[in-house]
Symmetry: D2
């Protein structure tokens, strides 16, 4: 850590800053410039990460030079991790050159619909089927999901079509139950900094799909992954799904640069979700292709066989035929950038 | 609701849209323009709010003309609500011309510190004492709060200094416990769309301090308040505490216009929290005064007697003396805009 | 245009709104809903686009259903335009399936450097060479460009290596001069809404590279293109180069979804500039590939043979070798998405 | 400047960085930490501000500790500047405890209207009358202003009502002409980084009203003021008028914290413009009061006597009566925060 002192700081103030640093068991290395004095802190930086050094009188700025995330950093694990979801005939892989394809409706609505959509996306090449049983809806009056009944329907559709399944958890009291039914747990954007929930899924051994929050930086996303990893579960797939932007033409701003940023900083795989990022079926394919070309380790797409009847997020779903057509294009781009499909 | 149809929509498509609307028990009123046809939907709009009308082929846009929040809207309750916190000697009021002043440290750290800070802010004129027992920290390695021990310390400090107390809850399993100790429950910015937690505090009869999420619009904030109200608890104080902005000079962008927006749309009181909004002690007083002049129903300030030793958010805390000086200025502005203090 | 009236509007107020609309030579079609009354305006919408209808008492909202840009819209010209830059051996094409590759240093610094870089990017497959002679620098103390001398150096390098050249204009008084030297005029992000400059380049017959402003929506970008087109010059290539975002890890937020949005709304080609969008050489290739896969009609990259000596924007430039390696990957993706190279 | 080196940098690389710094006539002071090595640069920092140090291999980050703006910084001029506009009976003052009140229509439309509005705002207490003769409209088809005729009308209205006048310039070729008619030149948000125009107004001796750009940080705003000051004209009044935000409920996000930030960093006065910041007459008064309470050196409000007939920005104008009522409240708040009116 580099501590930059304020202009006009007094000698006793400098001595006080140094004393505070040394009281933490660290060494302070003073460097006096023409305009400013800086202190290089030598020792275990983790000790001072949580110390409010900028509150010490005379300190202008404290610059971290080491990331606060450890287990999820590339320093800890230089090779890209491969996260496996499902097993045997339902095995899907994310990362290390493998791309995984997640698809399905926003919410589990009925066994018939789940069966039809599950069959269609599997046929198009998807290897993980999604469906929400507990929906985090912005309105208390909107459809909230089928609960455990939804989990059963999802599991059965996955079994029938030999495809792994993922569902979102929103309540720490439901994590255990969800683990009985699905191959992967999803943490949604609105819960990316629900630290209670992060801790709870970190205690399971299920792969986790962690979506980036709408106001989260890439570093924030890695810090949330660190919560899960710090509990012992490192099977984490990150997901870029759009952040808040000023142009209301799309639901969110699809931050495709996050893919390369994550690959620079972390060993964890990252996929893209252009469905939630854009909310517009006519824009989704373009962004899906962009994500894959950028190096994403998979693509997450909402698919529904009758969007106008969908109980949640209908307007942003692709039809099964549109999805199948997109998958042909995705395969061509995956090949162009040297990725292994599945 | 107004449904705007796409250019070039066919007659059978129009008929299909009309049929869908009528199947929901509503009337469709067609208006054919030179370039576009629009449909005015007549009937109970709540029925169609959750229906994905934009997914129907030929529909360009569906414009809501009624707000989706009901209980929290001004339509439902035209007069401003007054939310009372505490009782008797600890009574604090927010809204309807009354301003409430919340102050205290980010986290409860020890009985001695809480006592000292509680005494200081009470003396300066605050009427609600804050302190976190469960901290939602972005790093899993940072101080997470004292838990129930912290709740006890907070309650005792409140009793000793005759001041109401508020604390943040982050886990639905802790809401009941927290209710035994405090006068008001806080939902933090990161949990504004934690619908499980919103529902849980909605089942209590405690006043709730609901902070705006970093990527939430004012409408999103009201929708989250609606979650709480829909469970039966309408004692809600909203709080503007800064949203994500592009200028990293401050921690967040303090959106003072939210105050007037909430007062236009809702009967609920709204206060401002310039401590979290700016994160910079030298900017906080200016923004506190701005919030009050804008019509806010109170001000929330972090105060600590030794910021450099604070276990959380030290760099943004005011010293007790700085807080007392600010309160003198706040009183002058409150008087200038015709507010009742307390 | 659809005009939504306020709740509780009186009959005389409605009559006044109708009267205002009819005074503009348009027809008003009233539709009374249960909660709200709306007016569909029938006739030439262009007449009312500039009229402040929302200022009429009783009007809640005026919803435009027709875009305000005309010449640049897909309605006016359903087929994608192909913009040609240069001629004969220096011909480059953008749009309609053709991708153009622009590369070069931020600023023209010397004839030797321009020659070296021009030769390198041409060899790697670029077909337009860039270089700034007038630099819009945020600091008045930074290098402002070589002026006409720079234009000459750029032209000579283009001639020597048989490659078209583009340069930025920042002053309406320099447009004529620049036209004597270059094949394409660039309008930078900071000047996207410099309407005086837009008008001036619109009077020339040179192809224009119009960069999106940092706070501009896609619609704003098209409105600026409309300024140029309204003067008679429709040879416009749009450029996505990042918008302001909240994550300071990258210089800007690269909005790759803008590519598909432009293709939905306009016949004009759009290219991407990941150099300015990200400002980070290690992120640029990933975003360049993403842009092309998204359907962009070209890629703009800053290339410098000694970034640490660059007089402007050195830290974001690729080395010639890095550029050549990226071009190999870009060719593979262009082929995968069916684009013609050049 | 502090230069932070990358992990794993080699000794020859360190030597190369040091050599580059010394070649600029500066001293490099090495400080080797446990994880990172940093270099404190000693000497005239201005020399290296424009040097792309981050492009040198092995450099992770270059942290500026001195602001790049000089003439406009508080370091250069610790006391707040007072900018005088007009003279004698039309004298208005901004800064150093004085608040100035700017009001008037968006555009000059006719002599009659300007006379009526000028008289009304003067009576309400305004001391600078505004009106645009050259309008930077986003649509080429919208009203572009009356040009020189508008300047005459504005000057005459100012004379008649003994009030100073301000108008916007958008073209460097019109600056000289505008100076003949008005007391103050305005540079609009869209031209905040039109460096050609900044330079041109910097060569005049007229006070300048410099509006913050929609994507500009406070530092960017000060850099633009520096452009003007570097030409010899330091009579600059800054203006916060809203920046791009994600909540489309208001036209922009009113960043009231910019007031205190500017006062921390610069001696220049800063006023607020809630009309452009919010675009909503029912929100404007609340934000005007907020700005003044925050310490702003004045308030800019759009006033029109018939908003529905306004040729530009009608929906956001206050009526003269609304303005007069607001001014009464503003006076009360100005008194509460110890400002001198006028």
């Amino acid at each position: 850590m580099i501590i930059i002192l304020k202009e006009g700081i007094t000698e006793p103030q400098i001595a006080h800053v140094v004393e505070r640093i040394e009281s933490l068991g660290l060494k302070a290395h003073l460097s006096r410039g023409t305009y400013r004095t800086v202190i290089g802190v030598i020792g275990d930086e983790a000790r001072i990460a949580a110390t409010p050094l900028e509150a010490i009188p005379g300190v202008a700025q404290a610059v971290n030079v080491m990331p606060e995330y450890k287990l999820t950093s590339k320093t800890a694990h230089p090779q890209p991790s491969i996260v496996a979801v499902g097993a045997g005939p339902t095995l899907a892989r994310f990362g290390g050159g493998h791309v995984g394809m997640i698809a399905g409706p926003c919410a589990v609505e009925s066994a018939e619909r789940m069966d039809a959509i599950g069959g269609a996306v599997k046929k198009a090449g998807a290897n993980v089927l999604r469906g929400g049983a507990y929906k985090p809806r912005t309105s208390p009056y909107a459809f909230q999901g089928l609960g455990e009944e939804g989990l059963k329907i999802l599991r059965d559709a996955g079994k029938k079509h030999s495809i792994a399944v993922v569902t979102e958890v929103v309540d720490p009291r439901h994590v255990e139950l969800a683990c009985e039914y699905v191959d992967m747990l999803q943490l949604g954007a609105r819960n990316m900094q629900n630290f209670v929930l992060l801790t709870e899924v970190g205690k399971t051994n299920k792969p986790v799909l962690l979506k980036r929050g709408m106001a989260a930086t890439v570093k924030d996303l890695l810090m949330s992954a660190e919560y899960i990893a710090s509990q012992g579960n490192s099977n984490i797939v990150l997901c870029e799904r759009g952040v808040k932007g000023f142009d209301s033409a799309c639901r969110n701003m699809f931050d495709v640069a996050a893919v390369a940023q994550v690959h620079q900083l972390s060993h964890l795989p990252i996929i893209v979700d252009p469905s939630h990022a854009t909310g517009r079926p006519e824009i989704i394919p373009s962004c899906a292709l962009a994500g894959l070309a950028a190096g994403a380790d998979g693509v997450h797409i909402e698919v529904h066989n009758c969007p106008e009847e969908a109980m949640s997020d209908g307007p942003q779903a692709l039809l099964p035929d549109q999805y199948a057509a997109l998958m042909v294009q995705l395969k061509a781009v995956a090949q162009a950038v040297g990725k292994t499909w599945g």
